[in-house]
């Protein structure tokens, strides 16, 4: 046999092996880390239990998390206790029995859910606390650093009402629920700064229970009692609408420096634009939603037992005034409300 007869076969075999290795290395050019990550997330269940699904920030947190869940093939359930702490505790207990992979929740006050949070971690469920910290640390906390925010607000007050401003130095604080994290920690931050500034006098520090009508009634009386009131701090812009209305109706808009904080929903931008708020600290609830999903994704991929990794993710915030409000600065809660229905 002539050797040249085998040349096509040899050539063919060489080509085949070359293509084979090329094909094999084309597989190797795929991202080897992507599939394990997707597998860690796929099919998992996220249970969302805020204080209520009826307010703008909760809708943003849930909506953004749901968008992430849908993208990665996860299940997402929502429970709405409608501001009732009892209903919330009940729902949490039944969630522990149902055993989702992750529970995303919010503490109505420091103590109510503390025992249940520990139980959930012990039962093998990752727990993420949003916005309002409880007395117990679980896998992740996503929320603003309210103590630092309180300090920022106090410093704004000192600038507007302190020694060099020529004003009376009297301020009023409108709290939410006295033992709710948002209120409690902001007040801590405020008072820690103010104790070094005796020229600022806190003439009133009442709780408005997150209700704009109560905030309005409180502020109206305070303005009445202290016509030279210089500034007001309200711990949440949802009730700050009422406080601002009281200031406007007393004819003191512009005289009283009003600072509040919130998640950046459209109502905050509107209130800044029309002068109801003098300044607002925006901690961007949409960004918090993204942080929540990032935390879920990290925890599920790390595959540690729930309660092993514990971290605090503090949301960035910015101080906004009227000049910072442009189209698109704030977000519309209606789109997220629709997602969660």
């Amino acid at each position: 046999m002539r050797k040249s007869r085998f040349i096509p076969f040899i050539f063919g075999a060489l080509m085949a092996s070359f293509l084979g290795t090329a094909a094999a290395s084309a597989d190797d050019m795929n991202d080897p880390y992507r599939q394990p990550a997707l597998d860690a997330l796929k099919g998992k269940t996220i249970a969302y239990l805020p204080i209520s699904v009826g307010f703008d920030m909760a809708e943003a947190w849930g909506g953004v998390t749901k968008l992430g869940a849908d993208r990665y093939g996860m299940k997402f359930t929502v429970q709405d206790p409608n501001w009732s702490t009892d209903a919330m505790a009940q729902a949490f207990t039944s969630l522990i029995a149902e055993h989702p992979d992750v529970i995303v929740t919010q503490n109505p006050d420091l103590q109510s859910l503390a025992r249940l949070l520990k139980q959930a971690n012990a039962a093998g469920i990752y727990v993420i606390q949003v916005n309002m910290q409880g007395a117990v640390q679980t896998d992740a906390f996503v929320g603003p650093d309210f103590i630092a925010m309180g300090e920022q607000e106090a410093n704004l007050m000192i600038k507007a009402c302190g020694k060099d401003s020529g004003k009376s130095g009297k301020i009023s604080i409108v709290q939410g629920v006295l033992t709710g994290g948002v209120s409690y920690y902001q007040v801590q931050g405020i008072m820690s700064v103010l104790k070094d500034h005796p020229e600022i006098q806190v003439v009133s520090s009442q709780a408005a229970d997150w209700d704009a009508s109560k905030a309005r009634a409180i502020t109206e009386t305070v303005l009445q009692q202290n016509p030279d009131l210089c500034g007001v701090i309200d711990v949440w812009d949802g009730q700050g609408i009422g406080t601002g209305a009281a200031i406007k109706q007393a004819g003191k808009q512009g005289q009283v420096y009003f600072v509040t904080s919130g998640g950046g929903a459209q109502s905050q931008c509107d209130a800044l634009a029309d002068g109801t708020f003098s300044a607002a600290i925006n901690y961007n609830a949409e960004g918090m939603g993204r942080d929540i999903f990032t935390a879920i994704s990290a925890l599920l991929q790390a595959k540690q037992a729930p309660g092993t990794l514990k971290f605090q993710i503090y949301s960035p915030s910015r101080i906004m005034t009227k000049d910072d409000v442009k189209a698109g600065t704030c977000w519309d809660p209606a789109q997220y409300a629709k997602l969660l229905r």
Binding site: Q225, I241, A245, Q249, A337
Partner: protein
């Protein structure tokens, strides 16, 4: 007994009025800036809505009923009306639709009480839950606080405007009180309500159309509640549907009972509501000035109510006539 002879003329209304005057004097002397015109105006303004709701409640209570669905009806109908304006409906149409919703829901309540003969306590309790649930599930589907839009027009003046330096809520409440007083005292229907409350069976035998009148009471209460809701929403520039879960309805009952309107019906009138509202207003205003927390304020309110009822039962003990009727 001596007390009876000396204070025999003191029914609950007079006791409460005396308490109000005493508190007023004490606060004027001890609290800074209590007795200024601005503070009195703020005091009246903070209870204007409560007073209007008290009027709605008194119409029903005089006819021996009770309406626990007032706050739910008010919140959902007004929130829906504002939401319609926000999504583009014209203000007039939206407000009319809101009123129609309040009218319709109270019509159903009235029919349940009058024709299905369900006791008013249960019927209105159930309707309150139904209205709130239906409203939040199908009508107010966004956030539970509906913000007032800036283009709402002259209606905003009801909560925010003023007339000769008196805020509009007080004026609206005063006008509503006057109309309610004239209605109950001088019209046929008003007297029929008293008759039905005093002795339902006798009223029916005497020829009063009791069932339509019952329905009319609840519808009237619902419409007055809608007015109260408009005042609230325009004052705070938002309608917070969460008030349905709060104690507001019990505050309304407090104002009515405190003023001396018997829950057994047929006794009392608009003046009682005014007296009750005044006492609550003075109390709340004084306590806020003293910087007392809201939770403690509730405790004090309830203690005052107990005090008034205890004094009333000592001074006017139950006799054959009043003992028979019971409370609800």
């Amino acid at each position: 007994m001596n007390i009876r002879r000396v204070f025999g003329k003191f029914n609950q209304e007079r006791i409460v009025f005396t308490l109000a005057v005493i508190l007023f004097v004490i606060f004027s002397m001890t609290l800074n800036r209590f007795l200024t015109a601005d503070n009195i105006v703020a005091l009246l303004r903070s209870v204007a809505v409560l007073g209007v709701l008290g009027l709605a409640m008194v119409v029903v209570v005089l006819g021996r009923g009770i309406d626990l669905s007032l706050v739910a009806n008010m919140a959902i109908s007004v929130a829906w009306a504002i939401q319609l304006v926000n999504t583009g409906t014209s203000v007039g149409v939206a407000m009319t639709l809101g009123l129609a919703f309040a009218f319709g829901m109270s019509l159903v309540t009235g029919i349940l009480v009058a024709y299905a003969e369900i006791p008013s306590l249960f019927a209105t309790l159930a309707m309150a839950t139904f209205i709130y649930g239906f409203g939040r599930a199908h009508l107010i589907t966004g956030t539970d606080v509906v913000y007032l839009p800036h283009n709402i027009g002259w209606i905003a003046g009801i909560g925010q405007g003023s007339f000769v330096n008196i805020p509009m809520p007080i004026i609206v409440a005063a006008v509503a009180t006057l109309i309610a007083f004239l209605f109950l005292r001088f019209t046929k229907r008003g007297r029929f309500i008293y008759a039905m409350g005093d002795n339902f069976a006798a009223a029916r035998i005497a020829g009063i159309a009791v069932r339509p009148m019952l329905v009319f009471q609840y519808v009237l209460a619902g419409c007055i509640a809608y007015l109260a809701g408009i005042i609230t929403a325009t004052s705070v520039e938002a309608m917070n549907t969460r008030i349905v879960n709060s104690n507001m309805i019990y505050d309304v009952i407090l104002v009515v009972v405190l003023g001396g309107v018997g829950l057994s019906g047929g006794k009392g009138g608009v003046r009682n509501v005014i007296v009750g509202t005044l006492l609550i207003g003075i109390l709340l205003n004084g306590m806020t000035i003293m910087d007392i927390q809201y939770t403690v304020q509730n405790v004090i309110k309830s203690l005052i109510l107990l005090l008034a009822i205890v004094i009333d039962s000592i001074v006017n003990p139950r006799d054959e006539q009043t003992g028979q009727q019971g409370d609800i």
